[in-house]
C-alpha cells in the first residue's frame, strides 16, 4: 500500500523516512500517525537499513502537532484514543531494534517535538524552531511529552517550555540539551547523512543492544541494569564468535 503522507528512501544502509504531508506543515493527523507506524514496521523489517533517519527534509517543517481543525471537535473519549494512538507510535519507535535519528530540518512543535524526543538522537538545522504550544491551546500534550521532556532537559526547562508555549531557537535548544547537535542549514543534510552512515556501518546487534540497555537505564535500578548489561554483553560476544 503506498504512503500519502511520507516517503521512504534507503541509501548506504540508512533508511530515510521523510514526512511529506503535501501541505506547508507536516501535521500529525490520525492518517499520518498510522502511516508512520506502518513505515517504521517496514523499515525495521528491511535488512537493507541499519539505521532510520526521520525527517521532514527538504520541507519547511519537521512536524507540527495535531491538526487543530480535527482536534477542536474531540470529545474526551476521542482525545483518549488519539493519545493512545500517538503513544503507541512512540513506543514502537523506542522499542524499534534499529537506532532512530530525528533530523530536525525546521519547525518542530507540539506532537512534532514529542516525536523528536522518542527518537534516540536529535540533529538540528540552524533553522530549527521548537516548542510546545499546549498551554496556548488550553491543553497539555498527550504524546508522552510531559515525561520525555523532563527526562531529557530536566524538570525546570520542561516546565518553562510548557508554561510559556514559546518557540525556541536551535542555539537555545542545544543549550537546554533538547537537541544533540546543530548544523548550518547549507550543510545540514550532508552532515546528517554522513553521521547516519557512520552509525549504520556498525554491527546492528551491538547498536540494538546498546539502545535497549540505555532505554532500560531510565526505569531500572542500577543493579538490575548492570545485570542486564552483563547478560547482553555476553550474548553479543557469543553471537560474534558464531559469525
Amino acid at each position: 500500500m503506498p504512503y500519502k503522507k511520507l516517503r521512504i528512501v534507503i541509501k548506504n544502509r540508512v533508511g530515510y523516512l521523510l514526512l511529506d504531508a503535501g501541505s506547508r506543515f507536516n501535521k500529525l493527523s490520525i492518517t499520518t500517525i498510522r502511516e508512520l507506524k506502518r513505515a517504521f514496521t517496514q523499515l525495521e523489517e528491511d535488512m537493507a537499513a541499519n539505521v532510520i533517519v526521520l525527517s521532514g527534509y527538504p520541507g519547511e517543517s519537521f512536524a507540527v502537532g495535531a491538526d487543530i481543525g480535527q482536534m477542536v471537535h474531540f470529545s474526551t473519549n476521542d482525545a483518549l484514543h488519539f493519545a493512545e494512538l500517538g503513544q503507541s507510535l512512540f513506543e514502537q519507535i523506542e522499542s524499534c531494534s534499529k537506532p532512530v535519528i530525528a533530523a530536525l530540518n525546521g519547525i518542530t512543535m507540539g506532537g512534532g517535538c514529542d516525536l523528536a524526543m522518542s527518537s534516540d538522537i536529535r540533529l538540528a538545522s540552524e533553522s530549527l524552531r521548537i516548542g510546545h504550544s499546549g498551554a496556548k491551546l488550553g491543553i497539555i500534550t498527550g504524546f508522552c511529552g510531559t515525561h520525555k521532556l523532563p527526562r531529557i532537559v530536566g524538570k525546570n526547562f520542561a516546565r518553562e517550555i510548557f508554561m510559556t508555549s514559546e518557540i525556541y531557537s536551535a542555539a537555545v535548544a542545544l543549550q537546554m540539551g533538547l537537541v544533540d547537535r546543530v548544523y548550518h542549514e547549507n550543510e545540514f543534510w550532508q552532515k546528517v547523512s554522513s553521521f547516519a552512515e557512520r552509525i549504520a556501518s556498525r554491527p546492528l546487534t551491538a547498536l540494538s543492544a546498546a539502545k535497549r540497555l540505555i532505554n532500560a537505564a531510565e526505569d531500572t535500578d542500577l543493579r538490575t541494569g548492570c545485570l542486564l548489561e552483563r547478560e547482553m554483553a555476553t550474548h553479543i560476544n557469543t553471537l560474534q564468535k558464531l559469525n
Binding site: 477542536v72 474531540f74 499546549g134
Partner: protein, 255 residues
Amino acid sequence: MPERVCTIQSKTNGITTVTIPGNHSASARDILEAIRHQTNALSSKNEIKGVLLTGSARGFCCCQIENSATTGDAAALSGFGQQVMFILEKIGKPCITAIEGECSGLGLEVALACDFIVASRAACFGFPGIASGLIPFCGGSQRLARLVGKSKAKELIYSGDLIDAEEAHRIGLINRLHPEGEALFLAEELLAHICTRSPNAIRIGGEVVNAGYDIDLQTACMLERDAFALCFSSFDQREGMQAFLDKRTPQFKGE
C-alpha cells in the same frame, strides 16, 4: 510572625511578588512558616495568576539554621521544611524565583521547589552548610540531584562552594541568565507572558510533570493520557483551539 520576614505585593495583572530577603537574626523556622502561610493564602485566591519569589541584592531567605538541641528537634525541623516545600510545589499556579544576589542554603532549597529560576549575573548559588556539618534538609539534595545530575549535586554539597550565575546556567540550575539588576523585572515580564496561557493546562501539566517524574514511563504515560483527555472537557481547550483557528488571542478562564 510571618509578616516580619517577607513582604507581599499584588498587582492588577494577577502577579503577586513575595519578597523574602531574610536576615541573620531570622530562624529557618520563621522563614518556613512565612512561606507556608503565604503559599496557602495565595493558592486559594483565584485572582492571583502567578507568583514570583524573590530576595534582595544581598540574598534570598537568609537565616540562621538553629543549632537543634536534640536529634528529634533536627528531625522535626527537616520534616517541617520538607512538608513546606511540597506545599509550595503544589501551589497550582506558575511560580518562578528571581535571584539577584546570593541564593544558598535554605534559599536554594526554596528556589528548587519552584517551577524554575531566573537570575542575574550578580547571583550565586550553593549549599555552604557542609562547613558547619550540615546538609540540605528540605529535600534540596534530592531536587538538586534530579535537576543537575548526581555528580554536580555532590560537587556542590561536598565542597560547600558557591558557583556564579554563569556556571549555574551552564549546568542547568537556572533557566535564564540576565544582566545585573534585571532579573526581577525580566522574571516578572516572563511570568506575565505565562499568565496569558491557559491556567488549566498549566496546572494540570505541572501536576503531571511532577507526578510522572518518579514513576516508570509507562505508568506516567497513562497518567498523561488521562490528563490530556480531561483537558477536552474544559472551557480553556475549546477557547484555545477556536482562537487558534480564528487567528485571535484566546481569553482563558482556567476552567
